[in-house]
Symmetry: C2
Subunit: 211 residues, 2 copies
């Protein structure tokens, strides 16, 4: 039941979501914001493709735009799931920190629960990073090969996807120190660093002609 309720942020009204976000409830927080920021950027890529497809002027890019649109839908789905995944993962971390710590056995169980929950809280934003990077690659593919009147929407998509990646990266790095498997934690840190560098390069390319 709890899972079902929790997994419905995207079914909330925008106003209700913003009210919950600003409240003293610790979740949703920065992780959900990152995912929705990236989801908006991805939806903009789809809008640009949709307003290119079927136009005679861009006939030579028709196939590319259809393909990008379909791939962007997958990215969008992933990021919409990410809004909830991050919230749920965060709540598990909070629960773990709230566990009793009076006896040595309790302390050990709590530490173990924090380590497990931190792994989840690190992988959720890592998945968002990966999806948003794919989004940036798709935006890059449309540059110069889509409706010229909407190029500023491609620019905005790059701004949003890059902000998503930077924010999600912070959330990965906030959790990796508590992951027990140090080798895995370092792999995650390295991957998120690489994604973030690639994202800077990609959004730099996309925004090169923006004012």
């Amino acid at each position: 039941m709890k899972y079902k309720e929790d997994s419905m942020i995207a079914e909330q009204k925008i106003n209700d979501y913003l009210n919950e976000l600003k409240s003293e409830a610790p979740a949703p927080g920065g992780g959900a914001v990152a995912a929705l920021t990236g989801a908006q950027g991805t939806a903009l890529i789809m809008m640009v493709a949709n307003l290119t497809i079927g136009k005679k002027k861009y006939a030579e890019y028709e196939e590319l735009n259809v393909s990008v649109r379909d791939q962007a839908q997958e990215v969008l789905d992933q990021l919409i799931r990410g809004i909830d995944e991050d919230k749920e993962a965060f709540e598990k971390v909070s629960e773990a920190y709230g566990m009793p710590k009076s006896t040595d056995a309790e302390k050990a169980a709590r530490r173990e629960a924090i380590a497990i929950a931190s792994l989840g809280a690190g992988t959720a934003p890592l998945a968002a990073c990966r999806a948003a990077r794919r989004g940036l690659q798709l935006a890059r593919e449309l540059l110069g090969k889509s409706n010229r009147n909407l190029v500023s929407d491609l620019y905005v998509s790059a701004l949003n996807l890059n902000a998503c990646i930077r924010a999600a990266k912070l959330n990965v790095l906030a959790n990796t120190p508590y992951i027990k498997d140090r080798e895995l934690a370092e792999l995650m840190e390295r991957e998120v660093q690489e994604i973030s560098e690639e994202a800077d390069a990609l959004s730099g390319e996309i925004l090169a002609d923006a004012k």
Copy 2:
């Protein structure tokens, strides 16, 4: 009737908003995305303040956090209004471009309508820029004077507000060339440039210690 329907994006479900965004309807587009991206950043500032207020550890910053939270609510209201204002302004530009242009009189009327609509389509994102800059100033005020556990949410707020300003700036500059009053257009261009430079400096300060 039209106005009422149009002014309700924030009353839509997130999923419905994203579906409309990705569709071949040209609005909502990048301007609405910029405003909602900034609104999320502002809501995060309020969350950080709300999770600081009442905590003994931060008693000395209680007043500051209450004040920042109340001011952030005004910024949030402005940005939520901005989601719709941008969409409406954009639709007026589209309508103007769709006007008949067979006779000289029609051409003149169309040109006049485009100039008037472009002014609206430039001032809507300019208002979003101003509000988001205020948001960044508020985030800066909370840095080091709010719940330390939530500092990464302040970082995310800076990322979102800066992305909002950069995107809104693009939308201002996309419209100013068509504004008839050239002096006003140049004032707008200068203001948005100044805001964007200040925003880069502010978010740089806020994110200085972020990984």
